[in-house]
C-alpha cells in the first residue's frame, strides 16, 4: 500500500514484489522465474520482451491470478491477488475463443457472467465489436474467421468486461508479418480510444519498440530475471524506418542472446 504512488505522482496499478515461480518438487524442481520486482503505472503501455520459454506467460498468469507465485506478492490496485480477478482483461496467445459461440456471444460473455441484462450487454458488446472493426461478423463462429479477426474478438471480449488492466500475452504471435503490423497499429488505435493500463508480452523487438512506453527485457535463460528496462520516448505513431527507432533496436538487439 505504502508506495502506490510513484515518484511522478501517478499511481501504480500493478506491483510485483520479489516474486518467483518454480514447478515440481525435489529433484524435478524447475525454477521458471526468479525474484522479480515490477510495477506498472496507470494507463501505461508496458511491453515485456523475452525469447520463447522465458517465463513471460507464467508472469502474466500470476498477475491474473490463474497461478500463485511460489514466493513474493502481487498487488493489483493495492490488493493482493488471490484468484482470477475480472478487473484484469486477458488476451491469450492461442485466441481461446469459445468455439460454440458466435462473435457476439463471445464478446458479451463477461457481462453475461455478471448477470447484465441482454439488451444492455448486447449494446456494450456491439460497441467493442465496432471498435475492433468486426461489425458485420457478429453472427460468425470463430472458425470462420482469420487469425487476425479471431484476435480482434479476443481483444473485444476482454474490453467488454470493463477491465482496468489489459494483459496481452503474445497476442500476435500466430499471425503473419503483414497482419501483425496491421494489428499493432490497431491495438494502439484502440488503446488511444479506450485508455487502459496495458501489459503486453512479445518476443519481437520491432513490436516492442513500436508499442511500448516502457520495455521490460527479460533474461533469455531460465529462470528468467529482469535484465534491463528501456524507456521509449519516441512520439506515436512510430516509424519503423526512423533512425532513433533503429538505433534503439540495435541497442536492444545487442543485449539479446542468439538462440539458434
Amino acid at each position: 500500500m505504502e508506495n502506490r504512488i510513484g515518484n511522478d505522482g501517478i499511481k501504480n496499478v500493478i506491483e510485483c514484489k520479489g516474486i518467483s515461480k518454480y514447478f515440481g518438487e525435489g529433484a524435478n524442481k524447475k525454477e521458471v522465474l526468479s525474484t522479480m520486482d515490477l510495477s506498472v503505472k496507470e494507463n501505461e503501455f508496458v511491453v515485456i520482451l523475452g525469447p520463447g520459454q522465458s517465463g513471460k506467460s507464467t508472469l502474466f498468469r500470476m498477475i491474473a491470478g490463474l497461478e500463485k507465485p511460489s514466493t513474493g506478492h502481487i498487488y493489483v490496485n493495492g490488493k493482493e491477488v488471490t484468484g482470477p480477478n475480472p478487473v484484469i482483461g486477458y488476451v491469450f496467445q492461442r485466441y481461446t475463443l469459445f468455439p460454440w459461440k458466435t462473435v457476439m456471444e463471445n464478446v458479451e460473455m463477461g457481462p453475461k457472467l455478471k448477470g447484465v441484462g441482454k439488451k444492455e450487454r448486447r449494446e456494450k458488446a456491439q460497441y467493442f465489436i465496432n471498435l475492433v472493426g468486426l461489425n458485420g461478423f457478429e453472427d460468425a463462429y470463430p472458425h470462420q474467421l482469420s487469425g487476425g479477426m479471431k484476435q480482434r474478438v479476443g481483444i473485444a471480449r476482454a474490453y467488454a468486461n470493463d477491465p482496468e488492466i489489459m494483459l496481452l500475452d503474445e497476442p500476435f504471435g500466430q499471425l503473419d508479418a503483414q497482419t501483425r503490423i496491421l494489428m499493432e497499429q490497431e491495438i494502439l488505435r484502440i488503446w488511444e480510444k479506450e485508455k487502459r493500463t496495458v501489459c503486453f508480452v512479445t518476443n519481437n523487438i520491432d513490436e516492442a519498440i513500436f508499442l511500448g512506453d516502457r520495455i521490460v527485457m527479460l533474461e533469455g535463460k531460465l529462470p528468467s530475471k529482469m535484465k534491463k528496462i528501456y524507456n521509449v520516448d519516441l512520439p506515436r505513431p512510430r516509424d519503423f524506418t526512423d533512425l532513433a527507432f533503429l538505433e534503439l533496436r540495435e541497442e536492444i538487439t545487442g543485449e539479446t542472446e542468439l538462440a539458434l
Binding site: 498468469r61 491474473a64 490463474l66 482470477p84 475480472p86 484484469i88 482483461g89 486477458y90 491469450f92 492461442r94 481461446t96 475463443l97 469459445f98 468455439p99 460454440w100 459461440k101 460473455m109 463477461g110 457472467l113 455478471k114 463462429y141 470463430p142 472458425h143 470462420q144 471480449r157 476482454a158 468486461n161
Partner: protein, 283 residues
C-alpha cells in the same frame, strides 16, 4: 514457345478446362473410375456365380435382387423384410437408450470426480476387453432366449463408447478455455455450464455415434443365436435353407441400414453443433 505450351494436354488436365477429350483425362476422372469399378465388380461376381467358383453358394447379382424384392413382400417366418428390419432396429434403439442413459452419466461422473473414477475405472477396464458377443451364453443363461438377453448383450456393447467418450470429453476440455472464462469472472458453476458441457459435447456425441454402430453390429451377433425375427435371423435362415441369395440380400439391407444410421447421426450432429461440423467441411 508459348503456343506449344498452350497445346500441352497436361496443362489442361491440371486446369480442369472443359474442352479436351484426351482418353487419359477421362480415365483419370474419379467418377468415371467409380462407375467402371462397380460395373467390374458386378461382372466378376456374376462370372463367379456362373462359373460356380464357390459351388452353388454364390448367387448371381440379379438373383439377389429378385430375392430382395421377393422378401419385402412375401413373409418369411410370418414377417416381411421391413418387419424383420424393424425387429432388429427396435432392439438396437431400446438397448442404445439404456446404454446412453447409464453410460453417459457414469462417464461424466468419472470425468468430474477423481474418486468416482478411481472406483469405477478398474472395474470398467476389467470388463472392457471381453467382446460383447462373449456375453451371449451368460445372457441366455440368465435372461432366457427372449428379447431381454439380446438387449442385454447390445447394452454391453454400446455402453463402452458412451462411458469412455463422456469421461474423456469431460476430462480433456481445453484448460485455456476454462482460464478464459475465469478471467471474465466466471465461477465454478458457470464454468461447468458455459465451458465444460459445450466443450465436451462433441466428444460425447462422437461416443454416441460409435455406440450406435456398435449396437447395430452386436444385434446381428445376438440374433445369430436363437432368434425368431430380425436381420440376423434372416441370414441364419439363409444359411439353414442353403439360400445364399437370401444371405446376401440380408447383408445388403444390413449394410444400407448401417450406412443410413451413420448418415442420420452426421446430419443430427451438424444440426446440434453447427460450430463443429462446419469446421470439418471447410477444412
Amino acid at each position: 514457345m508459348s503456343k506449344i505450351l498452350e497445346a500441352n494436354p497436361n496443362t489442361e488436365v491440371l486446369e480442369g478446362a472443359r474442352s479436351s477429350f484426351s482418353i487419359k483425362k477421362i480415365l483419370y476422372n474419379k467418377y468415371v473410375l467409380y462407375v467402371i469399378s462397380i460395373c467390374l465388380f458386378l461382372i466378376v461376381l456374376d462370372l463367379f456365380a456362373v462359373l460356380q467358383v464357390f459351388g452353388n453358394f454364390m448367387p448371381r447379382p440379379i438373383e439377389v435382387l429378385t430375392t430382395l424384392i421377393n422378401m419385402t413382400v412375401t413373409p418369411l417366418a410370418g414377417k416381411t423384410l421391413p418387419m424383420h428390419l424393424w425387429a432388429s432396429l427396435r432392439r438396437v434403439l431400446i438397448a442404445f437408450a439404456i446404454a446412453v442413459f447409464i453410460g453417459v452419466p457414469v462417464g461424466v461422473l468419472m470425468g468430474f470426480s477423481s474418486v468416482a473414477n478411481a472406483i469405477i475405472s478398474p472395474i470398467f477396464h476389467l470388463f472392457k476387453p471381453m467382446p460383447p458377443i462373449a456375453w451371449i451364453s451368460l445372457a441366455i443363461l440368465w435372461l432366457g432366449i427372449g428379447e431381454a438377453s439380446k438387449v442385454f448383450i447390445i447394452v454391453i456393447g454400446a455402453i463402452v463408447p458412451c462411458i469412455l467418450n463422456s469421461y474423456n470429453g469431460i476430462r480433456l476440455v481445453d484448460e485455456s478455455l476454462k482460464d478464459a472464462l475465469r478471467m471474465l469472472g466466471g465461477n465454478r458453476r458457470q464454468e461447468i455450464i458455459e465451458v465444460i458441457f459445450p466443450a465436451s459435447f462433441p466428444a460425447i456425441f462422437a461416443g454416441l455415434q460409435i455406440s450406435l454402430s456398435m449396437a447395430w453390429t452386436t444385434v446381428l451377433a445376438a440374433e445369430l443365436v436363437g432368434a425368431r425375427e430380425g436381420m440376423g435371423f434372416i441370414i441364419v435362415m439363409g444359411m439353414n435353407l442353403s439360400k445364399p441369395s437370401m444371405i446376401i440380400a440380408g447383408m445388403i439391407v444390413i449394410a444400407l441400414t448401417a450406412f443410413m444410421i451413420s448418415m442420420a447421426v452426421n446430419y443430427l450432429e451438424r444440426w446440434v453443433c453447427p460450430w463443429k461440423t462446419e469446421l470439418e467441411t471447410t477444412e
